[in-house]
Symmetry: C2
Subunit: 416 residues, 2 copies
């Protein structure tokens, strides 16, 4: 073992278009501090890699492969939906983490994820001190859902927002141009289980009340079938067509989702899908309009080909800042994005204690949703607009983006 | 009336990412021949605009608006699903067309569409001569389905092919990275009612048998449930995940579609949708794997942000060639794309008689599909690969593509 501590980095939860951009920021920054940081290890399949002592030796990748992470979607080291519970309930897992970190001389733990991951990073920080092997635990924000508190926005969200805004605009031009004899209503189903941030981004496609999308359905607003159908009919009668952006989390006043696939994932979350179809059939039955619907699903969060340049820049910056915070001796904190002004858009990096971030969800404020519940407000537009600015195109070869697949070579095990 | 004849241009059927690129080619070329072509009129909502004498005066648009058509998706003048039948069955409509063309001194009719439109253009040519008002009728190829005969490929297809290949690649990176604890099987449902060209394009995302997509379902191959499930299971057991590209036209041996929404459009075609869901539920029931599916729907054919540069160039070229053919005195023909070599890819413009194009569909050859029916062959790859090459990005402002909406001012009516 050397005096220099190693750094452990893990990805958590659903990938985004730019989670690897953050990984690139972490690794490239760590490489510039070889005097203080030994090697960088990554968890194979996220925190599971630590629990199973299945670590990836990141420094066996070439510098060009690491640089290519910047423009590669997915989660390059593997990620997991794996939630550690309380320190008592999941005591064995937490202790195992500390044991693995101790065995591999890990002094820095960077956990790149959403609410649940911030909670885990916080608990590891507490326990590592209790167990006499203090580790600098830094949460690194990532979530397409944009629902972390304190930070102005979350890396990953700007790119999905751009994808949804552009896709809504493009599909609307298509539908509008053939509405006379064909499809009248088009529905784009988007992610956002509890918070309507992604659905709201669809609102950037148009500006006026008659611009597409003519309706947005948010999880924050109880679905009012009569008001919805009246608005669809009014749009078709006035504009000849209607474009709807519907959150997968759209729900009735009693909390039931419009579409509930019935299965649950590892976090106990209901697995959603199908709101587009439910709405389409409702419209067909009640209004008789021909419809089409698209389900963006994973396409929206992996669309690195259409990443927001602002998002990519911020994703890299939080990775770099996380390493710098660790080197400053901080622990149980998360770098945040701080907005300094809307127009011109200016931002910087701040710091938030994990205790104030963990397990808290930031919903779309009511002031960001129009009075009738079907559109975004000017305040929402001011918030969202800067986040999709700029195109950060990947390099292409023969028509396809040049995404990298790492070697992901294992670190030799030291434990049983 | 002047000695110069006017040109009438109409868009038909579903829009593509580049049908307006063809319109731009038509209009800019006509403008360079003001000595021989009077004004350019477009049909509002396609051929319906001619039948209703609702013509758009294209020359009242600015040159910059016309130039912006080159990078704008949708169908800028409106399009229609409206099929004229035989000359006797639809005699009134054909005679009305000639009447309107005569009233507006139209000597050139350019019809931009697929099989049905080529048939209409052919019949108008025949009838106009019979009625003593001969019109140069040129079919201009356009279809994402790539199913027109004689031409090597169809403008619109290259861009949807690129979109599907890139989306398959990106979603596969996403699924692969979290397969350990989450989704094992991802299905991308794509267009292609009768021909598997679009589904085949998904095959460009990977090269080896274990690369994504691990399975493709073509309309040309009868669905074999047992073989399908065996391949899905084998991929999950070997690769930890499985990506499937499924054509909306996938069908059983008896011809029934896997998913049949039950309604029919104006052409009497069954309206499809839902193969992704049917496959997902089958996999869940028989194999127990967690799944996700995306339905690209209109996003795939309107994704001008990811247009193939080769496709955009060819779309413009067929528009230009159509005007030039008309000026040469040709009629009842369609400009084609002629492939001169695969690698390096070289192509030129040819000419085909509409009588040989109309109402014929070009299916994916069996030699382009692997023996087991679930993948593309090397020959298919050689055919497809050049068509997605190059990125023809639209200009952006504040994060959104700068698509144009035309004024579409009407031409004064001359008939009742």
């Amino acid at each position: 073992m050397t005096a220099r501590k190693n750094l452990f980095y893990a990805q958590s939860g659903g990938p985004t278009a730019v989670i690897n951009t953050t990984a690139c920021g972490v690794i490239e920054t760590a490489r510039r501090h070889r005097d203080r940081i030994g090697r960088v290890y990554a968890g194979r399949n996220g925190i599971i890699g630590a629990l199973e002592e299945d670590l990836i030796d990141v420094y066996r990748e070439s510098a060009s492969a690491i640089a290519a992470l910047r423009h590669t979607p997915g989660a390059a080291f593997g990620t997991a939906r794996f939630k550690l519970k309380g320190l008592e309930e999941s005591a064995a897992e937490y202790e195992r983490l500390i044991e693995v970190f101790r065995a591999h001389n890990i002094g820095y733990f960077l956990y790149n994820g959403g609410n649940d991951s911030m909670d885990t990073a916080h608990k590891v920080s507490l326990l590592s001190t209790q167990l006499g092997h203090p580790i600098a635990c830094i949460g690194v924000p990532k979530t397409v859902d944009n629902d972390l508190p304190i930070t102005d926005n979350c890396p990953g969200f700007g790119s999905v927002a751009k994808y949804i805004a552009v896709s809504t605009l493009e599909a609307a031009l298509d539908v509008r141009s053939m509405a006379r004899t064909s499809t009248k209503v088009f529905i784009l189903e988007v992610m956002g289980r509890h918070a309507g941030w992604i659905a709201a981004a669809g609102g950037l496609a148009g500006e006026g009340r008659d611009d597409p999308p003519q309706l947005i359905l948010f999880p924050e607003i109880a679905f009012d079938e009569a008001a919805f159908l009246a608005r669809v009919r009014a749009s078709v009668e006035k504009n000849d067509y209607c474009v709807i952006v519907a959150s997968e989390g759209a729900r009735y006043a009693d909390g039931r989702f419009l579409a509930d696939a019935g299965s649950r994932d590892a976090f106990g979350h209901v697995q959603l899908g199908g709101v587009g179809q439910v709405l389409a059939e409702l419209i067909k039955r009640e209004l008789g309009y021909k419809y089409h619907y698209a389900i963006a699903d994973y396409l929206q969060r992996s669309a690195r080909h259409l990443a927001s340049a602002v998002d990519a820049e911020q994703a890299y910056a939080v990775g770099r800042a996380a390493v710098e915070l660790a080197l400053e001796g901080q622990t149980a904190v998360m770098p945040t994005i701080v907005r300094k002004s809307d127009s011109p858009y200016r931002w910087g990096i701040g710091v938030a204690p994990l205790a104030r971030v963990a397990n808290r969800e930031k919903m779309l404020p009511r002031s960001f949703i129009s009075r009738d519940g079907f559109a975004i407000t000017a305040a929402c537009r001011r918030y969202l607009a800067p986040l999709i600015v700029g195109e950060d195109y990947p390099p292409y070869r023969r028509g396809l983006p040049q995404y990298v697949t790492l070697k992901n070579l294992p670190v030799r095990r030291k434990l049983g």
